[in-house]
């Protein structure tokens, strides 16, 4: 009875295309839902990854200050010694003169306070930054301990409380972000899968009829897979457009210090590919899963 395999393929593709034409409305609606859902999720990813960047920036500012004894060692020798301490990223020397001029700058208008001070009473110091992996209360304490052991070190200061609070805050934000990400991701998946399920449900009679006249599962599935792909592609592209337009609109309205929330934190091409891919995958998987139970006729 079967005449030609290539005719099968031609029918499957041409039927898929014509059913796509017939279901323009549903395709558009599903693409819109996909697009908006993906855009909301992406916006969340933007904000969180940028916030992470900002918090890391704050962490980098954590400094240890080592005050040095006068005339014990040269600045270069002390710097070399500091750089040998494990966990230190950089050290900047602040000479006695620079410290005094910075103090004068800070006391602008009240310079009189320093009148009568002949010799420079301020010690020279090093402002030290630690490596990212040591940027924890324990890591910093270890660096501080080693610095205190240097014989030219008069005193070592750092804000223990600030480091501990910042570290706890970053941990909290990261946990909250994970929880929100999971929640938002689940909500996005729920909305998308239900939209696709409704679209497939609307055509359950068509699936049943095709099966009853002897269509194979493949023959019935291909149009839905193709539709899922196209819906996903349009949804992904729409999400990109929403994000691009939204970002442009927001950037021109908000002050510079809040712009971190809408900066693209990773490769644009990669992210666009991810959005489109995720949309297409959701479209196809959603269609296949939804139609499976109608195939058992």
């Amino acid at each position: 009875m079967r005449k030609s395999g290539s005719a099968d393929f031609v029918y499957i593709i041409s039927d898929a295309l014509s059913s796509l034409k017939e279901s323009k409305g549903t395709t558009a609606l599903t693409s819109l839902t996909l697009g908006f859902s993906l855009a909301i999720f992406s916006l969340f990813v933007f904000v969180i990854s940028n916030l992470n960047g900002v918090m890391e920036g704050w962490g980098e500012k954590t400094q240890i200050v080592v005050y040095v004894k006068d005339n014990v060692s040269s600045a270069e020798a002390m710097k070399d010694s500091i750089m040998k301490v494990a966990g230190v990223r950089g050290a900047e020397f602040v000479s006695k003169e620079k410290a005094l001029s910075e103090l004068k700058g800070a006391l602008k208008g009240y310079e009189g306070i320093l009148e009568g001070v002949d010799a420079n009473p301020l010690p020279a110091s090093f402002e030290i930054k630690v490596l990212e992996e040591n940027n924890s209360p324990e890591g910093i304490a270890k660096v501080v301990g080693e610095l205190k052991a240097r014989d030219w070190a008069e005193d070592v200061q750092y804000s223990r409380e600030w480091v501990e609070k910042l570290s706890a805050f970053i941990k909290f934000i990261q946990l909250a972000a994970i929880a929100m990400g999971v929640f938002l991701g689940a909500a996005t998946l729920f909305i998308i899968s239900n939209t696709i399920r409704l679209a497939v449900y609307a055509r359950k009679d068509e699936i049943e009829i095709m099966k009853l006249v002897g269509a194979s599962d493949m023959y019935v599935k291909v149009p839905f897979v193709l539709e899922g792909l196209i819906q996903g592609l349009f949804g992904g592209l729409l999400a990109m457009c929403i994000l691009a337009v939204g970002r442009y609109a927001v950037l021109s309205e908000i002050p510079a210090y809040l712009r971190f929330a809408v900066e693209m934190p990773f490769s644009t091409v990669l992210f666009l590919a991810f959005l489109t891919g995720a949309g297409m995958l959701m479209g196809v998987a959603g269609s296949l899963i939804s139609m499976n139970r109608f195939l058992k006729v």
Partner: protein
């Protein structure tokens, strides 16, 4: 051609639809199944078609045990059976031509053959002038004939028809049964479920009667 052994069917909640049906339908036979509404006529046809599994019993179709046929092989078997559904089951978005052509397309018949065979079948059921219409633009009787054309166009070994004259006036009913007779004369086994006693009397073919899901004569 079709053999049923002690076939029973109960729906959820234990409602019995068919009880202990044993039946043999020979190749090329023309058979009426009759009985009042709810007697189990449609269920019996659906079991023969493989769209409803029996709760008990065996079904041999064309020498194969239908109960043991794996799901992926079902489409191939269905292509050998033409089913005329009581509610037609036409695709509302497709034209009359496309609805009839679907039967051939799923079999992989080349497009030129499909065109020729569908055109011939539409002429046969006197619907050639409606080829580009959508089913909902047609009368009940015309939709019935599209459903019949879709079942016949693939030259099936068996035709199962559930109340194929239910929506037709007596004159058209006779025309439709004549179509089935003609197909039957070319060797196709035809099983028709109907409660139209006048039609059964007019054609005097083998008739089985169902009542409350049981066979009352065979």
């Amino acid at each position: 051609m079709i053999q049923m052994f002690h076939v029973s069917k109960s729906y959820e909640g234990g409602v019995p639809a068919l009880a202990d049906i044993t039946l043999k339908i020979g190749k090329g036979e023309f058979l009426f199944i009759t009985g009042p509404s709810g007697a189990g006529k449609s269920t019996l046809l659906k079991i023969m078609f493989g769209s409803e599994p029996p709760t008990q019993g065996q079904l041999i179709l064309d020498g194969r045990n239908y109960i043991k046929i794996p799901q992926p092989e079902l489409p191939a078997l269905r292509r050998r059976i033409g089913f005329v559904f009581q509610d037609f089951k036409l695709l509302p978005n497709k034209s009359v031509f496309d609805n009839v052509a679907l039967s051939l397309k799923v079999m992989g018949i080349p497009p030129s053959d499909v065109k020729r065979r569908v055109a011939r079948m539409l002429t046969y059921v006197k619907l050639q002038h409606r080829a580009n219409f959508k089913p909902l633009q047609l009368s009940g009787g015309e939709q019935q004939r599209v459903a019949i054309a879709r079942a016949m166009v693939k030259d099936p070994a068996i035709i199962l028809a559930d109340e194929p004259t239910g929506n037709l006036d007596p004159e058209l009913s006779v025309q439709i049964i004549e179509l089935f007779k003609e197909v039957n004369s070319r060797g196709t086994t035809v099983v028709i479920a109907t409660h139209d006693k006048a039609l059964i009397e007019k054609y005097a073919r083998r008739t089985i009667a169902l009542e409350g899901g049981r066979l009352v004569n065979a």
